[in-house]
């Protein structure tokens, strides 16, 4: 779209946010009673649902069971109505497989899998509405779902995307900003220790700007952490009160 100004002279983005500002985030845990853990998150207009089963016995091929740790199995899918055009996505889709693999790498770094040898943990994430930052929303939703299931993790995993326009790093890109074709960085962070679980970049970015973009993404991920932390504590407090602990 020629002439679309991603960052105005006064420093406002297309949707009126500032460069480092996140979209409104709302999250809920325990949305499904049947699953071990579940969560729903809305980041602006991006909506993602995550469901966790496990740890449980290996289903299917027993030979794939790891003798010293649990196997983390992630599946990513997008609903047909999630994008502007209704599009049927088959299950073995390349993009879905790649996302599933990225999610798996992220969560294998965070979940304490050594505690559950020979078991399997399943994480299913579905994007109900995609408006940019799909990976980030999925990671955030999956973190909440894993916490809801009571599976031990090293730390929260908080993710956010970032881009670079006109010398300024933008945090939490929406679909319009992603489609404009600039560089995009997706970052998943473990906030307490500051360790990165995953870092991915599309398109080209000059190395002089990399530090700035990484800092913007890290700061945004920390802001997400503050929010998720509040949601989780509130949920546990309510559950504990109702159980009469």
């Amino acid at each position: 779209m020629a002439g679309l100004e991603l960052l105005s002279d006064q420093g406002y983005r297309v949707d009126g946010r500032r460069a480092g500002e996140l979209r409104k985030i709302q999250a809920r845990m325990g949305v499904f009673a049947q699953a071990d853990g579940s969560a729903y998150i809305e980041q602006g207009n991006t909506k993602a649902l995550a469901v966790v089963y496990g740890p449980h016995e290996m289903r299917g091929s027993r030979s794939r069971a790891l003798p010293d740790r649990a196997l983390v199995n992630c599946q990513y899918s997008m609903a047909t109505f999630s994008t502007g055009e209704r599009k049927r996505r088959p299950h073995g889709d390349r993009k879905a497989c790649e996302m599933g693999l990225q999610l798996r790498q992220t969560f294998e770094a965070a979940i304490l899998t050594q505690l559950y040898p020979r078991s399997q943990i399943d994480i299913y994430v579905q994007v109900l509405q995609a408006d940019g930052g799909n990976y980030a929303a999925c990671v955030n939703a999956a973190t909440l779902a894993v916490l809801d299931a009571g599976i031990p993790m090293r730390d929260f995993v908080c993710a956010c995307s970032a881009g670079f326009v006109d010398g300024t790093a933008l945090a939490d890109l929406s679909h319009v900003e992603e489609a404009a074709g600039g560089p995009q960085v997706a970052l998943a962070l473990l906030p307490a220790s500051g360790q990165l679980a995953l870092l991915e970049m599309d398109a080209r970015l000059h190395e002089d700007h990399l530090q700035q973009v990484l800092e913007a993404a890290s700061q945004a991920a920390r802001d997400v952490h503050a929010l998720l932390d509040r949601v989780v504590r509130q949920h546990v407090r309510e559950a504990a009160l109702l159980l009469g602990d």
Partner: protein, 255 residues
Amino acid sequence: MVTEIRLPVACQWLPENLDWDTQKHLVAPGDTITTDTGIMLGCGTYMGDEKVIASVTGFVERVNKLICVKAVKTRYNGEVADIVVGRITEVQQKQWKVETNSRLDSVLLLSSMKLPGGQLRRRSSEDELARRNFLWEGDLMTGVLVQVSPSLVKRQKTPFHDLPCGASVILGNNGFIWIYPTPEQREEEAEDFIASLEPESLLVISQLWNCIVFLLAQKMMLFDTSLLYNYEAFLSHPIKDILKPEIMEEIVTET
């Protein structure tokens, strides 16, 4: 034409009237619990950078030098003398694999099965071949299995309850609850698992199932008296209204 319209109302949270114990320390993964040395790590914690860090969300329980964090909802962790209800998933040579809502399937050995007539002997190869007579894949038994979270089942001396309404309940510690019609006579030799079903007992069983689901939705603890009171409150409402959320809440608050 008159149609009934029901508008949803945001559910009210109870916490206002309940006491909140501010002594309890709520932690989330990544939070440092303490930097003391000489601490023994219990469940839900790990050691990182010479600090004791929480790995689940829950409350810290400290007993002298032992620190552990108990999560609100986890898979079942077995303890000695627990009664569990399980579901057979596989028949193997000398054992059965049983699904019990824990992190791995449980194993039921042939040698631990009670033989008919209370015989005590070593299980022979004929017993192995005959094991399919005891439990076969897809055996139909009268009754309903309800799966809830293990944290919702109160630990009691005996989980076998015969309720006066004509059904029996086994509240397994692993969260599996088995509701079945109370057998009229108890015969030691009876291996016949198929019993005749009457419509009244079916109704009682399905009502009990609904009771459990309601208690679960409001996250209340499950034990025999809570179930019984809930069932009595249940009976006072007409059946077709039962599934509406407001009625559910009413019934549970009455309990």
